[in-house]
């Protein structure tokens, strides 16, 4: 049997199509695997590289489930530091092997440079300020000047200095903070390749403590070891020296997680993304491979019949098909490896560039990945070829004696059953998605529903082609003349092949169209809600980490200001059903909230909002038993417990937050950051926007970098930024778009090449090249129409679900330009895929 498929290379076209489809599969499996590997890599300690042991607070949040057994504990990572007492230093310096124990305090800063430019960070990350005591943890070494000797002095990292053009003696100030200028006393360099050098600035220890704001506390304690001490041993001794404390002592690889708190969750959402996209891509590849394999097997019906006539058993024919597919799968695995790893490294670089993942994440080309990629391609090839192989083996040998010109009329009952179940599944998922209002779940369910609908479309399409053709028959005949008639006949008679083609067209329409519509709808709703939400007359902000809290009373004292409320984005862990859910929240300073924010409160009231209160969004409470008046257990960003009474539920939460807490919650200082990112200002009656702006702008002297924008400007800016698609969406869209486009061209070209004999007959009978091309063009048009309609049908349920979820109305917001681009692209590819092979076949067989 080896000879059989080895020499099948002589009829390359259908097998090439299968190979392309399988290679795409292997490519995406490799891509997903590479990303998964990258995501699983541990983040090394960089700024803390010289700290052999790092002591932090317990950076997880544990919630025990309720009274019913089994009582389990769920732990959730905290995204802010649960601070440690600096008094631990005395205990730690006494531990043998400890050379230095340092209380590390970090303050996000933005520098106002001598030329009044504001620098918030470099490509390595945002600027952070530390006390000079932390310099030894990297270690930083002074390149020029000296350490900060007093409160007005600052040492900048070499990378920061280079990027900002700073030299010793320059004067800088901190954006958003009132106070003095700082003089650059020195420049310090981190070890080569360590990005900390481009992110860090150092204050004197006392100044850092003042900026840090939490007296007697630190984010973490870094311990520098005596030379020759083993980190693991030191860690054990340190742990022993701190008995009974809720502390975490780490060394080695685990320090990276202590240094960069977001890394773990970034990486885990990165790997979730990779898995989800990988699964979707694999399923799409399955569709595509199945139809290409079916086409290539069906093209050789004569051969199978001949083999059966000459005495091959059905089992032998099946094995021939399967072996052929296995070989192709293996080849595909090899072929897809390099493109897959290339794509993965591009993806990772993009994610790092946009700071979705830490810069240390890299994707390597690991040749071992060829094996799972090839295995996946083989498995997919076998699965998709299974039904085709059965069909090939069941070919009646008597067929070899005749001409199998027309396909079996009725698709088997298996197809109907599968199609009906897929349709039912899709409807079921959609119904349950409409009920469940937790927004992330809903999106996942929506994409599962879309897959189910696409599967249903793929299975049921042969039944649909018939009625579709009947509808198109008259227009094709009238508009297309004889070529139109030929096209119509082809659609009618070759329903299976046309069905496969229609599905190949529907796939990109449904997928890309669905994503485009969902994005546009969500963005549209977010913009609408945002402008409705903003009741304030003006908004004050500053670049970088934001403004010092003292700005709020300062603004309130300005003439023309009737209300000023500061907002700080933070995280709150809402315990519902024993699970501490990570909830995006805004912390507000005291003030008349309804005067500046119109949150569309549906129950309760925000009139008197203060410590001990919490307001939740509709999506946050939907599906739970939380109601206004109840007390709910929550934890603030640094893990401090905050039991709060629900005073209001609001609905305008998209683009805002799902919870509102007072900034002074649990005594204040537990928000993970101490700066205010925005101040919303209500104007006194009779104050013009221009006057208001002028009064507030005068504060810019004390708060460098302060900016004030009127409501209309803010709304306009939001609309503009929302309309720019996010990088992730673009990247994933491009990848899937690539996959389905190649699939489209592949399937259609294959189907077209099978018409070789018919074209020959038509030419002999006297059809001109123009007529044949015209027939192909009309066929392309008909197929495009059917495919687009099918695709739209498949995405409708998904899109309306998501629209209902985000906007409360099932009517989606259709981005006509994107829709036109997608339909245009699909039409172009379809036309190309059908016409190019046709033209080639026409001209090749001239005079045959």
């Amino acid at each position: 049997m080896r000879q059989l498929y080895a020499t099948l290379r002589h009829r390359p076209a259908p097998l090439a199509g299968v190979l392309v489809a399988l290679t795409m599969t292997a490519m995406f499996v490799t891509w997903a695997l590479s990303l998964g590997e990258a995501a699983g890599s541990s983040v090394p300690a960089q700024r803390l590289a010289n700290a052999a042991v790092v002591v932090t607070g317990n950076q997880t949040l544990a919630a025990t489930s309720g009274s019913e057994p089994p009582a389990g504990t769920v732990t959730v990572p905290l995204s802010s530091y649960r601070r440690v007492p600096a008094s631990l230093l005395t205990r730690l310096t006494a531990v043998p092997g400890v050379r230095d124990a340092v209380a590390d305090q970090s303050v996000p800063v933005a520098l106002v440079l001598p030329d009044h430019q504001i620098m918030t960070g470099t490509s390595a990350g945002s600027l952070t300020g530390y006390g000079w005591q932390s310099a030894v943890l990297t270690p930083f070494r002074l390149q020029a000047g000296h350490a900060p000797a007093g409160p007005g002095q600052i040492v900048v990292g070499a990378g920061v200095a280079a990027a900002a053009g700073l030299r010793v003696g320059d004067r800088v100030s901190l954006a958003g903070r009132p106070g003095a200028l700082f003089t650059v006393a020195g420049i310090a360099a981190a070890p080569a390749g360590n990005p900390a050098g481009s992110q860090a600035v150092f204050f004197s220890p006392q100044q850092a403590a003042v900026l840090y704001g939490h007296r007697g506390q630190a984010d973490l304690i870094g311990i520098v070891a005596q030379p020759g001490t083993s980190p693991a041993g030191l860690a054990a001794r340190v742990r022993a020296a701190l008995p009974g404390q809720q502390l975490s002592v780490v060394s080695g690889n685990k320090r990276g997680g202590a240094e960069n708190l977001g890394a773990a969750s970034d990486l885990s959402s990165f790997s979730d993304l990779a898995v989800a996209t990988g699964i979707i891509n694999v399923l799409v590849s399955l569709f595509v491979a199945a139809s290409t394999v079916a086409l290539s097997v069906a093209e050789r019906t004569r051969t199978w019949a001949l083999l059966r006539a000459v005495g091959a058993t059905p089992g032998q024919v099946r094995r021939m098909v399967m072996t052929e597919l296995a070989v192709l799968g293996a080849l595909a695995g090899l072929a897809g490896y390099l493109p897959g790893t290339w794509l993965a490294s591009v993806t990772v670089r993009g994610f790092v560039g946009h700071q979705f993942v830490p810069a240390s994440v890299q994707s390597w080309a690991n040749p071992i990945e060829i094996l799972p990629a090839a295995a996946a391609a083989i498995v997919i090839a076998e699965i998709s070829g299974f039904l085709s192989a059965r069909r090939a083996s069941r070919v009646r040998p008597a067929v070899a004696l005749g001409e199998a010109a027309v396909e079996r009329r009725n698709p088997g009952p298996l197809r109907l059953v599968l199609g009906a179940s897929a349709l039912a599944a899709g409807i079921g998922i959609t119904a349950s998605a409409l009920n469940d209002h937790g927004s992330t779940d809903q999106i996942n369910l929506a994409s599962e529903a879309q897959l189910a609908f696409l599967a249903a479309a793929a299975f049921l399409v042969p039944y649909l082609i018939g009625p579709a053709e009947r509808v198109l028959r008259l227009p094709l005949r009238v508009l297309g003349g004889t070529p139109g008639r030929l096209a119509s006949a082809e659609l009618r008679v070759r329903s299976r092949r046309m069905g496969a083609a229609a599905v190949a067209i529907a796939l990109p329409v449904a997928y890309l169209g669905g994503v485009a519509v969902i994005n546009a709808t969500t963005a549209h709703v977010a913009v609408t809600q945002s402008s409705q939400r903003l009741a304030a007359a003006a908004v004050v902000s500053a670049p970088g980490p934001g403004l010092d809290p003292s700005v709020v009373p300062a603004i309130r004292q300005q003439p023309g200001v009737s209300a000023a409320v500061g907002l700080t984005p933070t995280t709150v862990y809402l315990v519902e059903d024993s699970y501490p859910g990570n909830t995006a929240a805004e912390a507000v300073t005291p003030g008349p909230l309804p005067a500046v924010l119109s949150l569309a409160v549906t129950s309760g009231s925000l009139q008197r909002f203060g410590p001990g209160d919490i307001a939740l969004s509709q999506p946050a409470v939907a599906g739970t038993s939380l109601r206004v008046g109840q007390t709910v257990m929550t934890y603030l960003a640094d893990g401090t417990p905050y039991p709060a009474k629900i005073t209001a539920v609001f609905s305008r939460s998209l683009g805002f937050a799902d919870a509102v807490v007072p900034a002074a919650a649990a005594g204040g200082g537990h928000l993970g950051t101490s700066t205010i990112s925005q101040v919303l200002i209500g104007a006194s009656p009779g104050t013009s926007p221009a006057t208001l702006a002028a009064h507030i702008a005068s504060l810019a002297h004390s708060y460098p970098g302060l900016q004030v924008a009127s409501r209309s400007v803010v709304n306009a800016r939001y609309e503009q930024s929302a309309s720019q698609d996010s990088y992730i969406n673009n990247l994933l869209l491009s990848i899937v778009g690539l996959l389905v486009s190649v699939a489209l061209v592949n399937t259609l070209a294959l189907a077209t090449l099978q018409r070789r004999k018919e074209l020959a007959v038509l030419k002999r009978v006297g059809a001109t090249a123009g007529q044949l091309a015209g027939a192909a063009a009309w066929q392309a048009a008909g197929l495009t129409l059917i495919g687009v309609v099918l695709g739209i049908a498949a995405l409708t349920a998904t899109v309306t679900t998501v629209a209902e979820a985000s906007a409360g109305s099932p009517v989606p917001f259709i981005p006509w330009p994107s829709a036109a681009v997608i339909v245009g692209l699909v039409t172009l590819l379809t036309g190309l895929a059908i016409l190019a092979p046709t033209m080639r076949m026409i001209s090749k067989h001239k005079g045959a």
Partner: protein, 268 residues
């Protein structure tokens, strides 16, 4: 239905009836074979109670007009399809009781095939096409035997070529070589010469004749070409699914007349 020739009023009795000859098991034996397609009103009766015997070592032709059921008869005999009723025995084995798989095995070991066209697997070379039944049966392929057969049918030197590079006549020769490779009990040929010119047809039929005379094969040829049928030992004439009669020793011209008479009778 009796067969008469135009100028000879004597009726010749059928030389062969359903009884086997001289104690040898018949190569192929059909008894009351009926094949109908479709159901009810749309039923088409391709064969209607046909009984026939093909003796071993004989060259038989099955002749008739288009639609007479010749191809269906061949399909039944070779086990390519199952009759609606009646029995088919091949080399003594009753085909009715065999599963699809067993039929396949039987076909590759005991039956050789030559079709009208598209005989060969396009992606295999001539040598591989000839060896195909042996490979399907997992039997070792003796290269010298392939060469011997190639020489016998007159295609020496074409062994490494691909089918689409050969002429129609050459392809048929390859098909015959393949049919001979397993030394089958019966070789069935369905209209093997219809697509060929008279000179090449003559050569192909000659090959089949040699297979019978020199190699002792049994050959059954389905054809509507009287010149081919004339080379056979016996001609079974089919008319509208029924056996009209068995004749032998007729010339091509006589056979042509028989056919024409059948056609005229049918038209009336």
């Amino acid at each position: 239905m009796r067969i008469t020739t135009g100028d000879d009023e004597q009726e010749r009795p059928a030389v062969r009836g359903p009884a086997p000859l001289a104690g040898d098991a018949a190569a192929v034996e059909l008894a009351g074979v009926t094949k109908s397609y479709g159901r009810g009103r749309r039923a088409v009766m391709a064969l209607d109670g046909v009984s026939a015997v093909f003796a071993p070592g004989s060259f038989s032709a099955v002749m008739g007009l288009s639609g007479s059921g010749k191809s269906t008869l061949l399909q039944m005999s070779a086990g390519l399809d199952r009759p609606t009723s009646g029995t088919v025995r091949l080399g003594g084995s009753d085909l009715g009781g065999l599963s699809g798989r067993r039929l396949s095995v039987l076909r590759r070991r005991r039956v050789g095939f030559v079709f009208q066209e598209l005989n060969l697997v396009p992606s295999l070379s001539v040598a591989e096409n000839i060896a195909l039944p042996l490979r399907l049966d997992h039997k070792p392929v003796d290269k010298s035997r392939i060469r011997e057969l190639a020489g016998l049918v007159g295609i020496d030197g074409l062994l490494p070529r691909l089918p689409h590079t050969l002429s129609g006549g050459q392809q048929q020769r390859v098909a015959i070589a393949r049919a001979l490779v397993t030394r089958p009990e019966v070789i069935f040929a369905d209209e093997p010469t219809t697509a060929l010119d008279p000179y090449t047809s003559e050569a192909i039929v000659g090959l089949l004749r040699r297979a019978v005379d020199e190699l002792g094969q049994t050959v059954v040829v389905v054809t509507h070409d009287p010149t081919v049928a004339a080379r056979a030992d016996h001609v079974l004439v089919l008319d509208q699914g029924r056996l009209a009669g068995v004749v032998s020793g007729r010339s091509a011209a006589e056979l042509t007349t028989i056919l024409r008479r059948l056609g005229e009778q049918g038209a009336r």
